[in-house]
Symmetry: C2
Subunit: 396 residues, 2 copies
């Protein structure tokens, strides 16, 4: 109960924490097989290397690391991040275009804070990442879905909705999208940058899964087609080094980044210097590329194992076949209700996320999101067999 | 320049980054003596101990530390924080009352997000901490000063302004306040808790300096008089272990804390597990109390050296005589303009913060804030002599 006289902010109307949080609370059961999270594989987390890097960073630059830092970032990290971006991306970037973030999700918060008013319109994929959807809702944005197909957002449909809705922003995860695993087709990327330029809206390109590619060829980010600075690129080390360190970054127009820094200053002031220093050494020692090469085969095997299991699911089941990332999105035949079946699945020891939570407009009760990265191959085989039998029984 | 069609949010009207940030940018000059910051002493930052604790934490619990954590905190840290609070405070506290924060300043952000609407009124001391004043302004709060004297906020004046303004919140730094160093008198603490209960507003008690006491007797926080859960207590390890790690916490009503956790979830998701783990081990190994005992004498010497120097300042100079904290607040004779003199001071190699930035209503151009903790004794003597001569010359 709240103390007398205290009331919630209007912006929290209908905000009750994400569905995933509630789901995580049922996962304490021992031996639960969870396809619900979005966690990278525990095996892929380089804790021994990070232990030595943390110690070394603190012994060699400890006073600066433990002291207050700049909102704009720990200087050695800024330097190595810049080098990393120049080596791996073809968009122009200098320090003034960079803002380290405490996870790329903080980017949505500061962009909304600095560039949107309540009632503004933000276009989103449907389905899309529910965590950021919640952040957009807290900032009282009108979420309008853009029609997509298996190749992602359809530029022609995007232009129609832009002309009708005059959005402030398009929020898009172009590569191995959460929750679908889908990738925006190469030929649709430049048109999106051009529409942003033509109509004057921001494209927030959230790209944390990009380096977890198990097949196919990398595609240029939308940001590489951005000649008018309407695209804000958000990257993250969460999926390729560690999510618990909370180190991501934003690349964008210098004035946008400067205003976001003021927003961040009033939030956490700066990202912890120590975690920036660890990622700095990781980049500076060229540990990242070999680490990614190391971890990809196991992720690939898990994805393939889960796809294999899905091929034996009841007739009428369809699902995405991602080339990377952490998720497969499943559509069961009409009439199936993933939310209702969820409780029974958990009782049998397997969890997933009902797909409805990812749709700004709700519905789609016959869909679900599966994560394959945070389970062993054995758990994937056992867990998927349990779901297959349960779903088959439910479908009668 | 912003990209075409992109505009700032209304809430950023008049927000241009804090005055202190601008000042920090002039401090790159080598050999600058800076009394401008709010940094703890570099010598007091335990970087070698933290290096070993970081390594140990990652080697023993590295998978959990590098994986996604809970917004509600890294479980071992929650446990040791709870033990620390029970041992050092007399207010009742359980885990449901706790939220780890990425610095206590994040507490203001999430409280505003979850509990205030634009146009709400927040009462503040005058002068007060300008960083949090900026956060309150971004949330479009009306800042109304409460009359204070050398003993801090005057309860009778507080009641008058509460009856007139019907505030949502009182933001107060009761101990070794920033920027004045003043401490709220013992007998004024309970009345503030009672007024919050009577009129139904939140008291945000920001208490990061409490343990940096060089003289006198510790006073109970306002929270210890709180029987109606109107007081949110915000503590921090920034001033006693490390600000660069960004680890603070909030203690409050369970429903308030739960809603703030949802706000934090949409910000940085959670505070970095590694920095929580380092503070956890620091507390668990009972390193904090001896560390504080170790660092106090040097802080005390610096405070006394600066007070000594101030006694030789021109006639008509008045200043606070804090028993702890990091700051002394100086009032020069009428007609002196600390902002105008600032440029010349910097040219002579000494920086401070003009006091006007700390006043919600502006003015008070004859005041300035001095930080003594981040300079050596020699720098304090040299820097204060420079200021004394400069100020005397200006006063003619």
């Amino acid at each position: 109960m709240l103390p007398s006289g205290v009331t919630y902010a209007d912006r929290f109307e209908g905000i009750s924490g994400s569905a995933i949080r509630a789901i995580f609370k049922v996962l304490t059961k021992p031996d639960m097989i969870s396809f619900a999270g979005g966690n990278p594989s525990n095996e892929a987390l380089p804790h021994e290397v990070c232990a030595e890097l943390a110690r070394e960073a603190l012994l060699t630059d400890g006073k600066r690391i433990l002291q207050y830092g700049a909102t704009e970032g720990y200087p050695p990290f800024l330097e190595s991040l810049l080098g990393y971006l120049k080596a791996n991306y073809r968009f122009p970037v200098e320090k003034e275009h960079l803002l380290p973030l405490s996870g790329s999700t903080q980017g949505i918060d500061v962009l909304c804070k600095a560039f949107t008013n309540p009632g503004d319109t933000v276009l989103v994929e449907s389905p899309t990442f529910l965590g950021n959807m919640q952040t957009l809702r807290i900032y009282q944005q009108r979420l309008v879905p853009v029609q997509s197909d298996e190749q992602g957002v359809i530029p022609e449909r995007l232009e129609e909705v832009v002309r009708r809705e005059r959005p402030k922003m398009l929020y898009i995860i172009p590569t191995f999208q959460n929750p679908t695993g889908r990738t925006l087709a190469a030929e649709r990327r430049e048109p999106i940058a051009r529409l942003a330029e033509k109509y004057g809206f921001l494209v927030v390109e959230d790209d944390p899964y990009r380096d977890l590619r198990y097949a196919g060829t990398p595609l240029p980010p939308i940001k590489e087609y951005d000649r008018s600075e309407h695209v804000i690129y958000m990257g993250s080390f969460s999926k390729i080094i560690s999510p618990g360190m909370r180190v991501g970054y934003m690349v964008g127009n210098a004035d946008i980044v400067a205003k976001c820094a003021i927003g961040k200053q009033g939030g956490d002031l700066h990202t912890a210097n120590l975690t920036q220093a660890i990622v700095d050494l990781y980049l500076r020692r060229n540990l990242l590329a070999p680490h990614i090469t190391d971890i990809l085969p196991s992720y690939r095997d898990k994805l393939n194992a889960m796809l294999d299991e899905l091929s034996a699911f009841p007739a009428g089941t369809t699902y995405t076949r991602p080339e990377g990332g952490l998720f497969i999105f499943v559509t069961m035949p009409e009439g199936f209700h993933a939310g209702e079946v969820f409780k029974e699945a958990v009782e049998r020891g397997v969890a997933y996320v009902p797909g409805t939570s990812f749709y700004p407009e709700g519905g789609h009760d016959n869909t679900l999101r599966l994560n394959f990265s945070n389970s062993t191959l054995d758990q994937i085989h056992r867990g998927m067999a349990i779901l297959r039998d349960l779903f088959a029984a439910r479908l009668g």
